[in-house]
Symmetry: C2
Subunit: 245 residues, 2 copies
Amino acid sequence: MKLKKISNISVDCVVFGYDTLTKSLNVLLIKRYLESKTEADILVDDYVLTGYHVCENETLDDAATRVLKELTGLTNLYKKQFKAFGDPDRLMNEKDLIWIKHEQFNLRTITIAYYFLLKTEEVALEENKYQAKWFPIRNLPDLGFDHEKIILEAHEDLKTKCLHEPIIFELLPDKFTINEVQDLYQSILGIEIDNRNFRRKLIKKKYIIALDEKQIGISKKPAQLYMFSKDVYEKIFEKNYLIHI
Amino acid sequence: MKLKKISNISVDCVVFGYDTLTKSLNVLLIKRYLESKTEADILVDDYVLTGYHVCENETLDDAATRVLKELTGLTNLYKKQFKAFGDPDRLMNEKDLIWIKHEQFNLRTITIAYYFLLKTEEVALEENKYQAKWFPIRNLPDLGFDHEKIILEAHEDLKTKCLHEPIIFELLPDKFTINEVQDLYQSILGIEIDNRNFRRKLIKKKYIIALDEKQIGISKKPAQLYMFSKDVYEKIFEKNYLIHI
DNA sequence: GCAAAAGTGTTTGTCGTACACCCATGG
DNA sequence: CCATGGGTGTACGACAAACACTTTTGC
């Protein structure tokens, strides 16, 4: 199956990965590197989001899915199209122009930005052909194009969304502890939460189900494990507008 | 200023207008009409959203603003880019193909969809050159392209957003009554709200300010008028994450 | 037995909800 | 004086917030 790419439309993927151990919300970035012909100068050396042109016969969602599979090998991840970026000058700083000349793509490209949610450890980065690397959301490297802006807007959207929809569980293993959920909220929102109140609130939810299991291999008191039941959640929230204006 | 249009990228605008008198949430649509050469047959006769190609030198936001000004003469309206639509077959039903042949644009066009909020009576529709017309959100006519889908998604986004951000006031006159706000919520969400509880909740907000004015020209008890203070709202909500997971 | 993290309870105030009648006005 | 829509009050239960110590475990 050979697909013709559309020269001025791309998708870019902000891949959020949460690392339960280090309690770090990370973004997966790929290396952008170019030397001059004599190899005397480094022309471009920074990071960018993974992305690619949309092809003639695929939907935007399919393009994003394809790009992510190409980078990580993973499919069936939580995915959200959150914004289109199309300023005429979005690819116009010095390094971007060098890169575009080298890669030959359209100066006026608009990109449909997606974010994906997964666990950092799901991705095997050794020998990744794009030199992909995780960076903490609050400690990003130099970024090419308008990708810093894209990441920040994705993060804002994630902040809002995680308060209204149960998407945090996409960032956690199937079996998790209450404190892991709290740590994750704190990482995303950049705030401190009272542990006692948080516990009570979370355990009360019918869709948070205590398992007959505790953590193993932990050198301290092992914590109770819970799971999230999507089924229960969807039954409860069928038509549940809560008008908290 | 002559701008070259990009043949495969457009913006489409869902214009929501609220009519305080009839308590109707409306969408502004333009006529799509085409007869056969002999004028014997009506080939296309339905409605579509207003939209146009994005030009080479403008941002997506500017394109949407331009399109809206062209249709309504208005600027400085609340505007939100809410989603990009780009399925390969989004313009592929029978009437769309006839229309596209006639209008000569790219079969694989992706569109960045915006919605705008205003008061129905702000727009003068007499002699509108696009034969624009208001339709109640729950009683839409036959729509071309994928525009019904776009409108429904805009409405969903509006439903969510109006519960978390003070955007309802964009749909109301500067001076409004409590019952007008309630009617509007009910129109958007399609639900009934208890008047006593709603009043109390709304009046308690510091950014809802009672004026020294009542309705005039009303043939019944005139209601107290209020205004929304954006200043006060923004001061209060500087960093107000409320974790109601 | 100690370090580390898990887990637990109470109080106070606020808020959501359910519910039915009186009031002010213009005609 | 009446029809219409505006406006009001209370009680109950649920939830949010503030706050500090005990328990369990592996080592």
